[in-house]
């Protein structure tokens, strides 16, 4: 039987009590004071000094009170456990405007699992009878009625595939590989879904689009609506039970299937299939020399930067780290191996971007805060739905950072990040083009296959699972 939020909070008690309130978690690069930067840049959201460590907790930056910075929330959790504080609507309103980007977790020297704590805190808050905020209530209602938070009709979920001539992949019974599309790419950023499916088709992958797919539950795990999330989890596990491998184009869905499902499933249950993000496959094929990219006049010379989605970046990195810590018997000796595994993980999308630079002629330029120190786009943790203004302002802060390096194109690998960054780009006139990396490959017809990938290429263990001797899930 699944766990309650309060049980999870109790499980995390030792983590909570490890927090010494040092507040290093407010910064990106809290351990790199001498990091060379680009100096001050004044963008749409004000002036930021991109040098050494930089404030990077979106809720703290927005609201200012200590309670909104991560350390404050950990001490709220501690007050709840010690009985100094009870769950109220006031508590809810402080713990909800957190994007759960995990920047804090990445900075913490005591390895406090901050995102897990905040999610458990939210779940326990809801269990205590504190109502959801109205905007979350609405998406909860929609997902219960229609299996997606956008309120789209079930029959419309795969309309994009039919429109794009990809109907043959719908409920393709022969396939042992599935593409889990997710709600945002199905109902909003259909470009991402089309680009990913067409890429798979071009590569010769025999895959299925599962018509019974429902929302992965990510927003509901994040905001504490764990019952809703677990209902969705059960439906997906049933719908995908006959496949061996599931591919994703959404960072959030990928994280939810890979990290959350095993965490919230019963102790004796295991995920019945392997999971991988499409960019991992593309990076692998680039490294194997099986694919390359065609030159493109329109893209040549364009400055392209990359936003690491928190859900594929930090959340996986921290999860990887926690697992390696758990396995270790001498952490001092193993710490370098952990760092190497995390570095290698962040290189995966960059393998593609560097190849694009080499073959296509784009100029790949990194923003100041990248990889483990990447600044969030502002969409996650239920914040885009619950606190849209704050969410877009955060995305605009990230767009400022892209502007600061002169980016023409801001890429990412998550439709939810794409949506938020794109909205901020338009709302605040940042003047860039926002797109997914795989979307760029498909839309500009960049893919050139040198050697047709085999079935094995599509189903070998994820890069992530072979790093640092990480055991397979």
């Amino acid at each position: 039987m699944a766990k309650t939020g309060m049980e999870r909070l109790q499980e995390l008690k030792k983590d909570i009590y490890k927090c010494i309130h040092c507040k290093a978690c407010r910064f990106a690069y809290s351990g790199e004071p001498d990091k060379e930067g680009i100096g001050e840049y004044t963008g749409k959201q004000g002036t930021v000094l991109y040098e050494g460590m930089v404030d990077a907790c979106p809720a703290g930056i927005e609201y200012g009170w200590e309670a909104y910075w991560n350390a404050g929330k950990i001490w709220i959790a501690r007050s709840i456990l010690s009985g100094d504080l009870e769950f109220t609507e006031e508590v809810r309103d402080v713990i909800l405007p957190c994007i759960t980007c995990g920047q804090c977790s990445a900075q913490c020297e005591n390895k406090v699992r901050t995102v897990d704590i905040i999610e458990a805190l939210r779940a326990a808050c809801m269990e205590s009878g504190v109502p959801m905020i109205d905007k979350h209530e609405l998406v909860d209602k929609l997902v219960k009625e229609r299996n997606n938070p956008y309120g789209g009709a079930a029959g419309e979920r795969l309309k994009w595939a039919k429109d794009a001539g990809l109907e043959k992949f719908i409920n393709n019974k022969d396939a042992k590989i599935a593409y889990y599309v997710g709600c945002t790419a199905s109902y909003r950023q259909v470009e991402v879904a089309i680009a990913t499916a067409k890429l798979f088709e071009q590569l010769g992958m025999n895959f299925t689009l599962v018509a019974d797919e429902v929302c992965c539950g990510s927003p509901f795990f994040r905001v504490g609506a764990v019952d809703t999330a677990q209902e969705l989890m059960k439906k997906n596990l049933e719908a995908f039970k006959n496949v061996e491998m599931v591919y994703f184009s959404c960072a959030g869905c990928y994280r939810t299937f890979t990290i959350d499902y095993p965490k919230w499933m019963a102790e004796d249950e295991k995920l019945p299939f392997k999971t991988e993000h499409a960019f991992e496959l593309v990076a692998r094929l680039v490294e194997q020399g099986k694919i390359k990219f065609k030159p493109n006049k329109e893209l040549k010379g364009k400055v392209v930067t990359y936003h690491d989605p928190c859900h594929t970046g930090r959340h996986f990195a921290v999860d990887m780290e926690q697992e390696m810590i758990e396995k270790s018997t001498n952490l001092m000796m193993d710490s370098r191996k952990i760092k190497e595994a995390i570095d290698a993980w962040y290189e995966v999308p960059r393998i593609i971007l560097r190849k694009l630079e080499e073959d296509v002629g784009i100029k790949f330029k990194e923003m100041y805060r990248i990889k483990l120190n990447s600044m969030c786009c502002g969409a996650g943790g239920g914040v885009r739905a619950g606190y849209p203004e704050f969410s877009i302002k955060t995305a605009s802060l990230r767009c400022d950072e892209a502007n600061a390096v002169g980016a023409d194109i801001l890429t990412t690998e998550c439709p939810f990040c794409w949506r938020n960054l794109s909205d901020a780009n338009e709302t605040y006139n940042h003047g860039m083009k926002v797109m997914g990396v795989l979307q760029m490959i498909t839309e500009y017809n960049l893919l050139e296959i040198l050697e047709k990938p085999s079935v094995k290429d599509f189903t070998i263990p994820s890069i992530r699972e072979t790093m640092g001797d990480k055991p397979k899930k």
């Binding site: 009170w65 952490l331 001092m332």
Partner: protein, 530 residues
């Protein structure tokens, strides 16, 4: 008589702390058995309205979900409690109005620069009241390379100042503390007499502060040193007469709110390294270090940070069950049981080589006088290790919570030639109480003082561990005070014994407090002041 008096005072003091903060609106002071017993008003909605009237509704709250975020029961003290109201002022005048109001209403006020853990100066303790979060006052006002000072507000963090000076004043070392985390503040460190980057050479950070601006609860805004004159630069600490600033060093916010300060800056030379010598006992560490420091001129001034410790200092940074406890493992890694680091700065490579070679020669020569000559060995560091040790601000002090779940720095000053005695005593006591014997020692002003910091790593989820920590603290305090050692960051619940022995000094501290804080509203309980 001594033991008896201490016990008596402890009982009185505990009664005072625990039972006598009556929440009343009338005059807030009465005498009980010769002790001043204070009463404070519990702030209510009307008081919140007053605070909102001063700073605006976005910057004052009694929302318990928000005020709970200011708890910090770790690192320096374990008794923090949730404040009743938090106010986030931006301007001096706002602070002045808040203090005048709270003084009139007998509401306790605890100022927090922006950090929370350091110095135990920050968290609100009983009886709660208003917490002033000065994080919005975070301007770096001026950096003057010729007069060699920078002027900052209280909310300027180490990370913020480092980034700024690294970019725009790279030849000058930001005046931040050594070893404090990036979110700690320059001001918080200074008023707690903390470290600078060059404390082993030039003295504590408090000595680097030139002039300050302070708001007292009586409504006065006072500028100290040369700043007392309206048109003077902050160039002379002793200004136009007796130095008032020093009264505030170590005050932990018990007198007023410092709103601006000028702090000296020193060059940040490019030629830097760390020399390390290992030994197997604290006495050889102490004596060799003293021989180098007593040179006073030359190499002694080059060695900006001289700090050492024992191998558990390395061990306790990792989870208890994921690191070998036996010394053999550390020996194989080339880590001595005790060691001393000399971080050395020089303007040229020649100067640097001279200083480091001289330390090496002195260490070789010291073997003749050492208790354990064969254990005196130079530790050759990899360039990455050197870079890591010189990184500032750093997170070096943070991961001691990783051992279990919580730690406490119990810090003392001793004369340098007594630091080995302190280390010997304390490590034995820590083991007796079941804690790993972790200790860090550093030189202040060329070994004029030692700062000795046992790091008690424990499991703060267990009440029994918390009680054991406090008992260890009490036990060792009694011993240490008999040796004439001073507690650095006094815990009002434990170190009251120290004030009891310094009655006359305490009398004048109280007199000064009454002058500037007539209703004793600032940080009640701190420094054992009512």
């Amino acid at each position: 008589l001594y033991e008896k008096d201490i016990r008596k005072f402890k009982i009185q003091y505990l009664i005072f702390q625990n039972n006598n903060f009556n929440i009343i609106k009338s005059k807030n002071c009465r005498l009980v058995n010769g002790l001043e017993i204070m009463s404070y008003k519990l702030p209510d909605e009307k008081d919140l309205e007053a605070m909102i009237g001063i700073v605006g509704k976005e910057y004052a709250t009694n929302n318990k979900a928000i005020t709970a975020g200011y708890l910090a029961k770790s690192v320096m003290g374990l008794e923090s409690q949730i404040p009743d109201i938090v106010v986030r002022p931006k301007y001096v005048e706002e602070i002045r109005k808040v203090l005048i109001y709270c003084s009139a209403e007998k509401i306790a006020v605890s100022p927090v620069s922006a950090g929370l853990s350091g110095g135990f100066a920050c968290p609100t303790i009983k009886p709660g009241g208003v917490l002033l979060d000065l994080g919005r006052m975070n301007r770096i006002i001026e950096i003057d390379e010729d007069n060699r000072y920078c002027i900052i507000e209280p909310g300027v963090t180490n990370g913020q100042l480092w980034s700024y000076m690294h970019k725009y004043h790279p030849d000058w070392a930001p005046p931040i503390p050594d070893g404090a985390p990036p979110a700690a503040t320059v001001m918080g460190d200074a008023i707690d007499r903390g470290f600078s980057l060059y404390t082993s050479s030039v003295g504590p950070q408090g000595d680097n502060f030139m002039c300050g601006e302070i708001v007292f609860p009586n409504g006065d805004v006072v500028r100290t040193g040369s700043w007392a004159l309206p048109f003077a630069k902050p160039f002379y600490k002793y200004g136009i007469g007796p130095d008032m600033w020093s009264f505030l060093m170590g005050s932990q916010g018990a007198f007023g709110v410092i709103t601006k300060a000028a702090v000296k800056i020193y060059p940040h030379p490019k030629f830097k390294t760390v020399v390390v010598w290992g030994m197997d006992n604290p006495y050889d560490m102490q004596d060799l270090t003293l021989e180098v420091a007593k040179q006073e001129f030359g190499i002694s001034h080059h060695t900006v940070m001289v700090q050492g410790g024992n191998y558990p200092l390395v061990m306790a940074r990792w989870p208890k069950d994921k690191i070998p406890h036996d010394y053999t493992f550390y020996k194989e890694m080339g880590i001595s049981q005790w060691w001393m680091n000399w971080e050395t700065w020089a303007q040229t490579q020649e100067e640097l080589d001279y200083a480091t070679n001289k330390i090496d020669k002195m260490a070789e020569d010291f073997k003749k006088r050492a208790r354990s000559p064969d254990a005196i060995v130079k530790q050759e560091l990899h360039p990455k290790q050197i870079a890591s040790r010189m990184k500032k601000p750093n997170k070096i002090a943070i991961p001691y919570s990783f051992w279990e779940a919580g730690f406490l720095f119990i810090t003392w000053y001793t004369p340098w030639p007594e630091c080995a005695h302190f280390a010997d005593m304390y490590t034995k006591k820590m083991e007796e109480y079941g804690f790993p014997p972790v200790i860090w020692i550093a030189s202040i002003e060329r070994c004029r003082q030692a700062i000795c910091m046992p790091i008690v790593c424990f499991d703060s989820t267990k009440q029994s561990d918390l009680e054991k920590v406090q008992e260890l603290n009490r036990d060792t305090t009694e011993y240490a005070l008999k040796q004439g050692w001073l507690n650095y960051r006094p815990d009002p619940y434990i170190h009251v014994q120290a004030y009891y022995q310094a009655g006359m000094y305490w009398k004048y501290l109280r007199a000064f407090k009454k002058l500037v804080d007539p209703n004793m509203i600032m940080h009640p309980g701190r420094l054992a002041l009512p």
